[in-house]
Subunit: 437 residues, 4 copies
């Protein structure tokens, strides 16, 4: 591949995460020659974009690199002829997230940003916007890769697979974060760590954890992780039942606590709601602080405080992925992609999160050694059924499909709560759900 | 087929249901020439067997038929060279059922004879006994058909498929009962009613309800059934949410209330436990009454009071099935059978409950018009995953597999309850679970 | 179903076969109350239609039945509001068939009406016409059943499945003819014969042959059939190799001689071509005779000479099928229908020829006991690949797809002959292949 | 992985190819620290082993490396605790190959070492020996990798998959050879060439040919390759039909000439047989010359003349594979491996030849972008059916299965030739086919 100078568009460029992404691009500039970096946002985010954009410019300048930073509200301008487009948007802002977390709790169901009824509401709001972006990409940059960070990443990726022709890869920081944690636990460089993942976004299990080619999964299982750090920041770190882990023979991702410890997690959320408000409200505070910091005209690097925000390694995941595509690297990364038969227990056209070879053409799944056993298979299948219905409802605004989606979700305990939760979601998100009108 | 004189063995012959079966055989004698009917039971059931057996003899005598009734504790004698073997056993008697219903409720999970953790316990006790019977059939009557009524019928059928070579068909009265109810609702003869079922035992949906070749399913759905009789006796008759039914486009069987109305059903069970005790305890009372009636030496027909017992039409289902095999009828009946690809969302070697052509060779599934949509598919898949694990655990007594089975069940809310429920089941059923020692 | 008076349209009504069909309708009138029977043909067939139509009217009159026979060139008039539409057309007449048989022989490949390159040519001509008829049915009689006899019946059925919404069943006389032959061989009534077929039209195997519920397949195989009548009229009756039959464990249909005895069949065709001309030319002679007979104004029944024509039992197959749909009979017949998973080795959307339950809604495949072993599977798969490509090429006139179709066919030995055969077919059928211009 | 010193066993070590393998090990010593290299052969090969072994020792000495070469007839000694075992055996020597090539030609069928009836005979002889080796590996070196070069490599790999527990990878030089040819054609280093293969050993198609990440397949197809070198030495280089290549949209491997140009290839073979004898006989001459050269006591490198022998790059393929496993490289190589769902048109437990990620645990297939279209699918399926039957027959010596295998093969034109070919093969290979006695 002739090394062309790249144009990258970051949609949701005003996000508090952006400095991390900028840092990543700067560190990798030697193998990723970006010429134009467009940070694009919506009118409501103009102020944030200006603050973050100015910081980004200072960072690039400090690094002495010829990357041109562009700030714009004109999404089409940003997308036109871009090579890579990343999305990190939040339709309805943190206010909407607070509602997503609160509504299900009212009916004694888990209220979480990406899992359960909360993630469902977020999907309904987000998918139409992403599909609008896809239409613009199809028209203005048909060869571009869409790198989607926006949550719920699995559902969003599936919508793009099913309803657009854009080359798209969904990205989550959980797999790379686990690699980093394992590297730390075993005192080795992360390049020595290989993990096999089976599942879908935020519902996956590690079936192999290799350090220098040697599988240490069983060792890890016996150490009862979860009490010791194999988790993500925003999930309460309840320890796993040892017998249960042994019976599984694989390590569930942190989000699986919502399924395996539903009662405990629900109670924690209910308590937490009373004492601290929703997680969204906590994050609002952190964000406010961060933007204060970003305003500092002498700040020219990513401030340490950003780490409190959660989402660690998002930037690393993104930069790794873009670099491997650009350089036809053929290394292995864990991303969200069309199933096409890798998990035979799911339909071919759904999104899965698995190890892929990354080359100039995108991501090619590597076959897993063994298809999942009934326990994992069953849970995957029922949650994927929920996801398929949710993607369909988000696309066509069909109430019946939406009701079926919520009802089949294992964290929504019956039709008697599914229906009022759905009705509340539709009412409170009215402005963001044109497809349902 | 040359019409040979039949030998039929009824294992669990001392059951209070037996008079209904006898009545069925008598009514159908013109096309089902039974010569020898063995009623076989275990030592603890000798008294009941004597009572029921005497009544059976009086019934046959009254009918003036040359059927020879044999009462025996010698199972092998009954099985040897039999043409059909039916099972209606209850390992651990109603006392065990009472425990099955009570243990899960202690942990705020549904406690039911065939569904959820209660059905799980029953499967663990029953499957080894059925497989022992299968070994005897393989040896003593390898060409016989095993007609299994014993609950949980789907799990038992699956165990026989996976771990024996016996020709076996599992039978439930729910499908035939629904046909009867539809016939009544539409004032027609049951022979004019054809229903397409999709699913597995006690977890199925009607996707077509035809009366004289015309589909009236939509009409039925709009009439909000469930409040009007499309249910089985032992399930509280809470009405279905109309919007939900419409969204489904199919009619769930009565047992699906445990999934779609979990909270309501659980609360009803908890209340009921306090006021009336478990359903097992209610049934004990009914049974006692029935056996008092049966003792009456002038009684020579099935007493009307048997209807209170539940299980209506079991006898009709059994007699229909045996008659169609015997006469190579090639009519359609709904039975439990190996999947072999009929429901493509489930493995080939699991049991399903679907419409079959019944001929001299047994049951041959008729292809359904449309594979289930995601909502039904997802629920089927997760419950079948539970069933596969349960069958495996029942066969090999593996604690880990048993724990995975209970944990993946949608009606067991978390590992935190799955584990103590499992431990209680194993402890309280110790005498009936040799495979776990 | 309320018994409505039927309207039936016979497209290709001027066929020499029609008297047999009329006879069938007359015999079955007591359960098939036809009011209007439209015989429709194209302008070139007007003379034949008049002759056959007049005979049909005399037959109905003789039978004293109130069936109204209509003769027309107006296909739409015939289709409008029809209940059943049957097709028995021959695009390009027997002249085209003669070319189909001759072209492949020029290149030392089998030249046959429905198999190999000959059947391929016939499919290219026929499918567009059938799809035109389907468009009219969709518009004018959307609830009608299309009963297709037109060869190649499997390919035509598959085209209808893939490119129309018409309810369609493809019909061949081979299965019913085999039942009749078995009944004769075993001196029993045909109602006692049940055969399980596995495969696709003109490429299928019997895997069970039951007489009164008892399987006699092995007996039949040992009798080395094929020398004794289990064949169709138009295929040279070379005997099967006994060892080969035993190794297969199933009885191949007569057309499989083209695959299993390619050399012998090819040589026979080459010889036959020299001495008698093509089969088409032989048939032309027979047809001419038949129409002379039909003209006789006192003839009021099907003349015996029609039997020489081949195609025995077509009428019986058609009348059986229509009667079972009309009366919601739920009996079992062997027809061509969408696969939908019955043969798991083939795609879901292709046509297969298998046993089906026939009811008011059409044909529902009965699951076969065992999926085909590798030998049968492999042959089925490669021929079906040819069929899929042929249907696609017939629909969209794509030269490349057509070339791939012929090249993958086992009876076309290489690209070096596939290409000139294809070019000759396209040239000589130019007037009938508008899709390729 | 701690770098342990390796033990490698080469079964068939007396082969004329061995010097190339030795050269490969020497060149790669810096990343492949071999301590012990066992060359093992059978008694009949002792002389050749001595000659080749002495040359190998001189080569290692010249290179100044501490690799210890061991020559032995004791296979178990060689296998015990080996890390890698490679096989390059020829059961029945070149004399048997001559028979494999001659017998089918007698019946006017293609006679080739690995394809058609010749490859079938070779499989029957070879598979039992390889499975014996596997039993020894299971016992003496259960963690070893078996790297199998022995032809027919696909059939041998499938036998190992189905009938042993050995970790096994089958290897062919065709994919690597194609990479080398493409590199040469495009004047680039082979490391810049990535090819996607679809299919099974000696029956595969390239569906992507990337040079530096850019797909040039279409360009290659338009250049009408095959006349210009994309072929292997032992296959007549007839040019492809340009229209046919375009219609395929992929480049067939050289062996596909036997299928796509059957007549031409057969005629070439018949001519060649008369003028030059079989290919085996030609090779005997070359081998004789080679061994004369090898005897030269001053020769201490691989002689150039070995290239005439065919089999170019075998050594490179083997050394690449072993090195990547040893170093957990995670690069991509094209090998024969269990399908497990990569080609959904074939069963899971068959062997396929596809791109794999090679790591410390072996080979993990990379998902292909698009499942094969009907033309390729159909041919793959029918040949794989032949392969499945052949593997089964080779294992259990079942005449019926063997007959079915040959009959379903597209290059065996009918049962009438399949049977005498089979009978000749069984008779002439009697000493090597104990499983058939």
């Amino acid at each position: 591949m002739t090394r062309k100078q790249l144009k990258i568009a970051v949609i949701g460029g005003g996000s508090s995460y952006t400095p991390e992404l900028i840092e990543g691009f700067i560190h990798r500039y030697h193998e990723l020659s970006i010429r134009d970096l467009f940070l694009v946002d919506v009118e409501e985010g103009r102020e944030k974009l200006d603050i973050v954009g100015a910081l980004a410019k200072r960072m690039v300048e400090e690094a002495g690199l010829p990357i041109r930073i562009h700030l714009t509200m004109n999404r089409k301008e940003a997308i036109r002829n871009a090579d890579f487009i990343t999305t990190q948007i939040r339709v309805g802002l943190l206010e909407a997230r607070a509602r997503d977390e609160r509504i299900p709790l009212t009916y004694k169901c888990v209220g979480q940003e990406t899992t359960g009824a909360g993630g469902f509401a977020k999907a309904l709001r987000t998918i139409p916007v992403i599909l609008d972006i896809c239409k613009e990409i199809e028209e203005l940059a048909p060869k571009a890769f869409l790198i989607n960070f926006t949550n719920p990443a699995g559902l969003v990726t599936e919508a793009v697979i099913k309803y657009s022709n854009v080359k798209s890869i969904g990205l989550c920081n959980l797999p790379i974060g686990t690699n980093m944690q394992i590297a730390k636990m075993t005192n080795t460089d992360v390049s020595n760590v290989d993990i096999e993942w089976v599942g879908i976004n935020h519902l996956n299990w590690t079936t192999k954890i290799q350090v220098k080619g040697k599988d240490i999964l069983e060792e890890i299982l016996n150490k009862s992780p979860g009490t010791e750090g194999l988790n993500v920041k925003n999930i309460p770190d309840f320890g796993w039942d040892r017998d249960f882990l042994r019976s599984l023979g694989s390590l569930p991702c942190g989000y699986l606590r919502y399924y395996y410890m539903s009662d405990k997690m629900l109670n924690e959320e209910l308590d937490s709601l009373e004492t601290k408000g929703t997680r969204a409200e906590v994050v609002m505070g952190i964000e406010k602080e961060l933007f204060e910091l970003y305003k500092d005209p002498v700040l020219n690097h990513k401030p340490k405080q950003l780490e409190k925000r959660g989402g660690a390694y998002y930037s690393l995941a993104a930069v790794n992925l873009i670099t491997s595509i650009y350089n036809n690297k053929k290394d292995i990364q864990t991303v969200n992609i069309e199933n096409k038969g890798i998990l035979t227990c799911l339909n071919n056209d759904v999104s899965v999160e698995v190890n892929c070879v990354i080359d100039a053409e995108g991501a090619h799944p590597v076959q897993i050694d063994k298809q999942p056993e009934p326990h994992i298979r069953g849970l995957l299948q029922v949650v994927k059924a929920y996801e398929e219905l949710t993607v369909e409802a988000a696309f066509n605004g069909d109430y019946d499909i939406a009701l079926q989606a919520l009802t089949v979700h294992p964290l929504v305990t019956s039709v008697d709560v599914a229906k009022p939760i759905l009705d509340d979601i539709l009412k409170e998100n009215r402005d963001f759900l044109p497809q349902f009108h």
